[in-house]
């Protein structure tokens, strides 16, 4: 079931994004930012966690899961550190993704040139 759900969930999110992209004047930048906010909003009441438990990998790939990880880390740290944890734990879960993207970008930018 995980495979079918992954296909449907990830596909559906991309489909919604493509429909917004084609039918409005919003750019990909607007849509990714919007989706991150939606992901964070869905996780504030545990809805996105439910998606991940049912869907698996397909729910972790879309950019909505980035917003989910941000708020999830913040709330986990808030449990043990109190109010200040919201600041301390913000990047706990997304740090790997951002760091990996920065390192790979640095290395590949040194090696390659822009193709035009």
């Amino acid at each position: 079931m995980y495979f079918l759900n992954s296909f449907l969930f990830c596909g559906l999110i991309c489909l919604i994004a493509e429909l917004i992209l084609d039918n409005t004047k919003l750019t990909p930048g607007h849509i990714t930012s919007l989706f991150v906010v939606i992901g964070a909003a869905l996780d504030s009441f545990g809805i996105y966690d439910y998606f991940i438990s049912k869907v698996g990998g397909g729910a972790l790939l879309p950019i909505t899961s980035f917003g989910h990880s941000l708020i999830h880390g913040a709330l986990l740290a808030a449990e043990s550190h109190g109010f200040i944890g919201l600041l301390m734990g913000m990047f706990d879960l997304t740090a790997t993704g951002i760091t990996a993207a920065i390192i790979f970008t640095f290395v590949f930018t040194l090696i390659f040139k822009a193709k035009d």
Binding site: C10, E18, T32, V36, P62, I71, L75, M90
Partner: protein
Amino acid sequence: MGDNMVNKRYEEIVAKNKPKEDKFKYALTAFFVGGLLGVLGETLIRVYIYFFNISRNDASTYMIITFIFFASLFTALGFFDKLVAKAKAGLLIPITGFAHSMTSAALDYKHEGPIYGIGSNVFKLAGSVIFYGVVSAWFFGLIRYLWEVLICS
């Protein structure tokens, strides 16, 4: 009068040769590409669990890093842009789009030097995602935290 005719004819030709925006085809492509990436992600998680004997959480992190690595590499090699032009949201909404925007921004501004070129432009596009992600996550987190502290306890 003649000018009018020419203008009208010109407009007709423009209307005929304008590329048709086949929205249905675009939407279907985005759905399938996004769906296939989702299946690939789930498959990678299973493969990592099976071969490295790690927890599902760790395997998910490995899977995300794998996607970022290949999106970054393909962007640097130059053919990811063509794939994005075809699949559009199918590749931009998954984490591949995040890595793609960073690497392509860095490559585009490489000629302006390492500091004012690469360093300050890397987050030109991905920055808004991080910025609004953190802002919204903090406010929603605050609401959830206050909810638990004030009402549930």
